[in-house]
């Protein structure tokens, strides 16, 4: 279809908007560096003006007039409801009263069918082929909060049968995984990639294909994964509207620091 071939948005814009739409008014949004921060800003500026952005570094309810390049960027400290520290932020997420309102946005190097994440190493832990940054607050957020969104690049080496290292818990080994391990209820609600959006089955907690982007087929997506997922529920994802794109480009990342 011509409107798909003549896309007037980039993949990063599509991904950002797909994530932003998962955020609701009344959500407290935990975000990390990069596209996850942009998604939080987009939600706040577009569809969830009453959502609250906060950072593990202690910044609560940041105004974000410019996009931060790290969660400790001084831009997260401007015009906040509180400038605390790491203890404040993680305690607010572990606290059941406030934590139940938090939605986390995470990324990783590898993901498995239950939404568990690896952001630590590829290869052996003690002498890895590739070392990544490590958990940071990722494991904490994934442990504590009821809902999270995950950003991934859709590549076979990233959607794997078995993680090299389980850094952040999704549903662990299935429906009772978190409960058996002693974790609070929670887990990922969406995986947003450069090809589509994955959900998790309410019963089995297994990943399924929820949506594919214009110009991408479910088969294309399956070809980019080590494990297979249910594609029967998938529909074409609704691309960003002109209004969404304008607000994203103008209010969230006018320098295109994250959008590229």
């Amino acid at each position: 279809m011509s409107d798909e071939l003549e896309m007037d948005y980039t993949l990063r814009e599509m991904m950002t908007i797909m994530a932003a739409r998962e955020i609701k008014n009344g959500d407290i949004v935990f975000c990390g560096t990069g596209i996850s921060m942009l998604a939080a800003m987009a939600a706040k500026n577009i569809n969830a003006p009453e959502s609250v952005i906060f950072f593990e570094t202690g910044a609560m309810d940041s105004k974000l007039e410019e996009i931060p390049l790290a969660v400790a960027d001084p831009r997260v400290m401007y015009h906040t409801s509180a400038n605390g520290g790491l203890l404040d932020s993680f305690a607010a997420m572990q606290n059941p009263v406030t934590g139940r309102r938090v939605i986390g946005i995470l990324g990783a190097a590898q993901i498995d069918m239950f939404g568990n994440l690896n952001s630590t190493v590829i290869g052996d832990y003690h002498s890895p082929e590739i070392r990544f940054s490590g958990s940071g607050g990722g494991c904490d957020v994934a442990s504590f909060v009821p809902r999270s969104i995950i950003f991934m690049q859709h590549e076979k080496r990233k959607f794997v049968n078995k993680l090299d290292y389980l850094t952040s818990p999704g549903y662990l080994d299935g429906p009772r995984g978190r409960e058996m391990a002693g974790l609070p209820q929670g887990g990922p609600v969406a995986v947003i990639t450069d090809m589509g959006v994955m959900g998790f089955d309410d019963e089995t907690k297994e990943m399924y294909l929820a949506g594919f982007y214009p110009g991408v087929s479910p088969q294309d997506i399956l070809a980019k994964m080590e494990f297979s997922v249910d594609i029967s529920r998938a529909g074409q994802a609704v691309p960003p509207t002109m209004e969404e794109l304008e607000l994203l480009r103008e209010r969230c990342d006018s320098q295109r620091l994250i959008l590229g």
């Binding site: 001084p74 630590t120 002693g182």
Partner: protein, 325 residues
């Protein structure tokens, strides 16, 4: 700790007095903000070796200490410097080349471990990391732990809630306290006795300082001892925890210091470029670290023009419209 009225000294003396080969060190700040870089560079210049380093998400400082060959062991949650190095480059190299030993925790766990040290308890509980490899894979093997009195016998301990499900919790992870020999932090204001006032986010600096046996504070502004005694709910660290106070304006450069200056994207991009190549990294260190007698020298080399570009706007506390691409 030290209760003197005047603890002001110079950075060379502070480092020489407190930082020894093999010491257990933690440094404040987070990724590209308020790292005590002047102290980090002085440690590198002083060729201190075999440091056991503790960090949550301290990025630039940790990476330069590793790059400088100062670190042999690292307990850490996150080695990244934001967009400039999503994974810290010398850190990654050192881990992949097995030239340092690493043990992984989460940011909250590392913070709790400092808090436990500060509180004088052997551990604190959290629900984080149950079911993950942070529990299963230990960086320091059990045998080594038992021969080293400065490392706890267990990386962490999983325990059933002894209050029978109280507050709907079945299990907790206990993480062991850290008590570093030295913590170094950089703050906006300190007085001569060592009372500290941090603007913007405190990260885990307060817990890191209170956990340590000795604390070195570097500061943008050195205050008279009377000045910080008003509105002192704004002082996060009272002087009883502090051993040395060093006045070093721009002491966090090239990382940011809220309300004073932003991080320097130019420096950090150049750093990331040089860090990718061992030879170029040697050149980087010769130019920017060993080529400078002290931090003032480095700031002079960067030049007043660039420092003006990154200087903080008085309303927002950062450099507005700074070119950060």
């Amino acid at each position: 700790m030290n209760l003197q009225q005047d603890k002001v000294t110079d950075i060379k003396t502070a480092i020489r007095t407190h930082i020894k080969d093999g010491c257990h060190l933690s440094i404040g700040g987070f990724t590209i903000n308020r790292n005590p870089m002047a102290a980090v560079y002085e440690i590198i210049r002083s060729k201190i070796r075999n440091i056991h380093l503790y960090a949550h998400s301290n990025g630039q400082g940790v990476d330069e200490l590793i790059g400088g060959g100062c670190v042999s062991r690292l307990e850490i949650a996150y080695g990244g410097s934001g967009k400039f190095a999503p994974t810290c480059i010398r850190f990654r190299k050192a881990v992949q080349e097995n030239s340092i030993e690493v043990e992984d925790y989460t940011n909250y766990q590392m913070t709790l471990r400092f808090l436990a040290g500060a509180m004088g308890v052997p551990f604190l509980p959290t629900r984080s990391s149950l079911g993950t490899d942070i529990v299963n894979r230990w960086g320091f093997p059990k045998e080594m732990r038992q021969t080293e009195p400065d490392i706890p016998d267990e990386k962490l301990v999983i325990m059933e809630n002894p209050f029978q499900g109280w507050h709907d919790v079945g299990k907790v992870v206990l993480v062991p306290a850290i008590r570093p020999d030295v913590t170094i932090i950089h703050v906006q204001k300190a007085d001569r006795r060592g009372n500290c006032r941090i603007n913007g986010l405190a990260f885990a600096d307060v817990e890191q300082a209170k956990a340590a046996k000795h604390v070195i504070v570097t500061c943008e502004t050195l205050c008279d001892n009377e000045e910080l005694k008003t509105d002192s709910e704004q002082n996060q660290i009272p002087f009883i925890h502090v051993d040395a106070v060093v006045h070093i304006p721009k002491g966090a450069y090239p990382t940011a210091c809220y309300r004073h200056y932003d991080y320097d994207p130019k420096y950090l991009k150049n750093y990331a470029l040089k860090a990718r190549n061992d030879e170029e990294y040697v050149t980087y260190m010769e130019t920017f670290i060993h080529g400078c007698r002290d931090h003032a020298d480095l700031i002079a080399m960067i030049g007043s023009e660039q420092m003006a570009i990154i200087s903080a706007d008085s309303v927002t506390g950062y450099a507005k419209d700074l070119d950060r691409r």
